[in-house]
Symmetry: D2
Subunit: 348 residues, 4 copies
């Protein structure tokens, strides 16, 4: 049994971490911090946790974190980068769900996040927490940068094609649809039920912070060569879920086919506990993974257009955030990778 | 053609007024004020109005209102009471969609709204804008207090029974379900899609501001005698609509029956353009009146319980607010009461 | 490890049973039957179960059931009554989620369900599976009749008041709001997204099959004396959840108060693992129990009306069906009552 | 005043036609047919029409249609092709909202719709009812084939780019998101609220009937030269609305820019009453056109990817069906093109 601390557990990522950790047999949550809610009970803020946690929010306090074996940061960006070093110095392993350690190019990060990076030296050490790519490095990491929600879905969708050199990497498109929980729990008019339900819209065409993160991952899969990706996210009228529809023009159409693509995906993810490659002709739906850590993938060959279309569905709060964080923790501590993550999607 | 001004048209009631007035052949909107949005275009704030209004928000300005024949206040409470007198002095008729002039008992108003009333002298003059009760008085009024959304539905549901003395007025219950737009457009966490969709909950059990307003109307229908009402509102996961389920114990069960109740309702509302009494065995659904000014009513006799159950469905932004305001205006100016209000509910 | 069979697992109750049983450490699902889907895989019908069950639907077959230690019937009414006897004869314990064994008065059942009862002799033996009332009898039962979804919420809300004789049992009202999954998975136009979303409506005013079931339970709590209940169910635009708003006139208002009511509820449910009595001033929301077996209760004293209002929220597919069935099974087999039911509500 | 008949007005397209025609000052609906509902009142089937139409459904009857000046077919495919000739012979003009006369290549139509075409001779005469392309031909047409919902949005999005030869027409992508009403009112499990809400999924990757219709229109805009389009439709958890996100690689990136693209779109649609080209940096949302006949367009230049992204939002039941049909009628009869179509989108 180890002790976990959660910094900033007042948003949807935080409550999801708590929900999943409640069912984890090797972790006890010893500390949950929130500057704003300090002194109030976790269950009064998140009533679904009533009876599962008898904890109050603590004020953020480096000393308290020292007693933790693992510290999760579920904070907005630019918070973890100021505290992670102290948590590490106290002996904890750190799993950051924010963007602070995801981008290796510090200048790029600073440009997109609009502030100076407070801890560039840890960026080099941090391991990008996508188990399907970095499982071995995660095992030995002290500091994990958990991928963003869109980047998880889009990378899992496109990696097999890039790794095999099957597609024209300069003309990739990811049309992604996200539920509203991706925007967090902040009280902004755009995310009111009356504004966001019964409507769909695109946003971020001028640039989205997840774009450089996705590019970084795709370029690595592409042997370090540049990748060109058009990425358009959409706000979709549902609470949870991301569906990424990815379009990849195939390099050698005559050598391609449904069987080949299916085989490439099945082989790539054969041993992955949380990636399901659907049979030809079946397509993912976000409801099928609601609340679960699974990412569903389906690849379709459109011969007339020489195009591979890959669909990826995940729960943005689980495989796209808290679930992936726990998956990384399980790997880091040498446990069964599925511990605490066996929950089945809630359907209907 | 008259000129209308709208004060504070930045919320859902305001945009609904504009939507309906755009189709009104006798009114031109000359002025729309907002302190916060002054100088920006109405259409940029409410994109559905693009092409229909070429107006910018003006700063609130009593002088400008002087050019209006009618002024609508679509403001939070405690605003109209400070400005209505000047608008009236300028020659305009005033239609207030807020609560400022609804409650005749100033002390009661001040208790529920937590502030001193700035203009008690106008409260006496103001006419409560429920056409089904006050049509004649509305015709001659200078100042209309448009009823609240819950009070409209619940009064229309219970008035016929009280007027006929059919029910035990001390034991009435109104269990009301409202869409989230009833809470307005303010950015509060409770009304985020992620908080308010896929859930239903009660609120306001300790007391709701619409309760004294409903009581005032019911007691008037009851010949001035006291009425006892248990009122429980519920936040329902939809944008628009109120359904009120009203329970009224019948005084003389042996003399009661479905036919009698049906007849009482049909007679009461026979000439009402915006009240539809459904046939026995049909029940209202809020979707049937989405976007329309209609209030649907159905009365059911539960013989075994000596109970009349009355269901009322309305669109809280139309018959419960902006539509009723325009209905009052039509009456005040002697026009066809349905002018601008012929729009049919959007189904599906 | 025991073996469970599920008869008719093609609806929402069935998939929910499977979801919960997948996480149950003492049960293996050996058999899932469906006449219609026989030969197809369970996971192809319920994609959320992919990777959790490697089972095909079998045709209904009494012989196969013989190998089961427990058989769940997740069938429409009038099916279990024809097969339960054989399953029992084969040595299995039977947990019926349909209505077949819920009503002890055979004539009453036949009237409401419109068919002759095929197995009245088992009705007498069957135990009504509401652990909060019948825990001891469940422990020794061969045959459990799992309560309906509305009856669970409404009985839990009203039992404490009746058992203590605090309220006028002749004038109870239950205004209940259910998500659409309560209607099952049948393809009926009324439950299409385009018909059922963005709207709320009442139904069943002429009589609902759950009414006699609720009455039977309430009368038992009332010492066998008659109970009068007005019950109006509502179709609410959400997938899961029931909120019951119950109105109970208090007999001796002068002796009543918030503290008393709160104390009565807390004492009644102190040791119940799945009933949460909320503190005064907090109200349940169905989202707080989405996917969990918890029933949230809140009692409010409306002094001016001499009325106790009790709110009950549950997930109709869990505490209102599959979860309660598993809770009963845990009791029957002497296991920890929470085994397989520790899942936390999915929020948001 | 002319008389209109509607054949098959029992689905969502039919009720929307009736809603819009109720407000049309030059048309009286004289006849509404339905084999299934003959003899029942229109308002009992569509309660939002109560008080607006005092009509019963008639059985389909060629003779009755003879009295109509215009006949709308709101039928499934393969119905209008059998009856249109007789309606035309009776002197009516015919506006078909189904697919029967949309595709000029009879073989292609037969392949996609799986039946022999009963009336190929009228296909040649029929005018494709997209006013933004065929206004003059519509004016003189006897028979209009109203475009499909996806084809309307996608053609309006891509026409300006093809007409100007700005993009590589061999590599177009349309990622389209539709509300569930696009599937009609048929009782299929996939469209139940419990299946279709809170989820998004792609479908039709193997081929969608709207694909050849879109290609036909795009190729015409492309001077008859072939066009290559990847089209992926998505089922989106909302009632109404289509958002098409279209990706078009620009031929000469160095000569392109935001200003040029904006200018091309603004010029192309300058005089169109129902196409709104949004300013740079504003993006459409389907809620902004809910219930209105407007199609919103926004074009964005992604310089780094040499890509034009065009967003199109429409209400699939209005501009994508019934509204466009009425727009065509207005043109055919020489009326103001906006007659009956001035309704503003319902927001929120």
């Amino acid at each position: 049994m180890i002790t976990a601390g959660i910094v900033g557990a007042t948003g949807y990522t935080g409550v999801e971490l708590l929900r999943l950790l409640a069912g984890h047999r090797r972790v006890e949550v010893g500390l949950v911090t929130s500057r704003e809610l300090a002194g109030t009970s976790v269950a009064s803020h998140f009533p679904n946790l009533r009876g599962h946690f008898d904890l109050d929010f603590s004020p953020p306090d480096a000393a308290a974190l020292a007693g933790c074996d693992v510290v999760f940061f579920a904070t907005p960006h630019a918070v973890a980068m100021k505290s992670a070093a102290r948590a590490l110095a106290g002996g904890a392993r750190v799993i950051d769900l924010s963007a602070d350690f995801r981008i290796r190019d510090i200048g790029c990060w600073e440009q997109w996040y609009g502030t100076a990076h407070a801890c560039p030296e840890l960026v080099a050490e941090a391991v990008y927490g996508l188990p399907e790519v970095n499982r071995e490095r995660i095992r030995h990491a002290r500091l994990i940068a958990v991928p963003g929600c869109y980047p998880t879905a889009i990378q899992l969708a496109l990696l097999p094609l890039l790794e095999k050199g099957l597609v024209d990497e300069s003309r990739l498109i990811a049309d992604a649809k996200s539920g509203v929980s991706g925007a967090g729990r902040k009280a902004a008019a755009a995310y009111l039920l009356c504004e966001a339900s019964e409507s769909i819209s695109a946003y971020g065409l001028a640039g989205h912070r997840h774009h450089p993160e996705i590019i970084q991952g795709l370029e690595q899969a592409n042997g370090g060569r540049p990748v060109g990706l058009t990425f358009v996210p959409h706000l979709t009228p549902m609470i949870r879920g991301i569906l990424a529809t990815c379009y990849a023009p195939v390099r050698e159409p005559d050598a391609c086919g449904s069987e080949l693509l299916q085989q490439v995906f099945e082989e790539r993810y054969r041993d992955e506990p949380f990636v399901q490659v659907l049979p030809q002709g079946e397509f993912p739906a976000t409801r099928e993974v609601r609340g679960s850590n699974v990412c569903e993938l389906a690849v379709t060959w459109l011969e007339a257009r020489s195009m591979a279309v890959v669909l990826a569905a995940e729960d943005n709060l689980v495989k796209g955030a808290a679930g992936q964080a726990i998956q990384c923790m399980n790997i880091m501590f040498g446990w069964n990778e599925s511990e605490g993550l066996a929950g089945i999607g809630l359907l209907p």
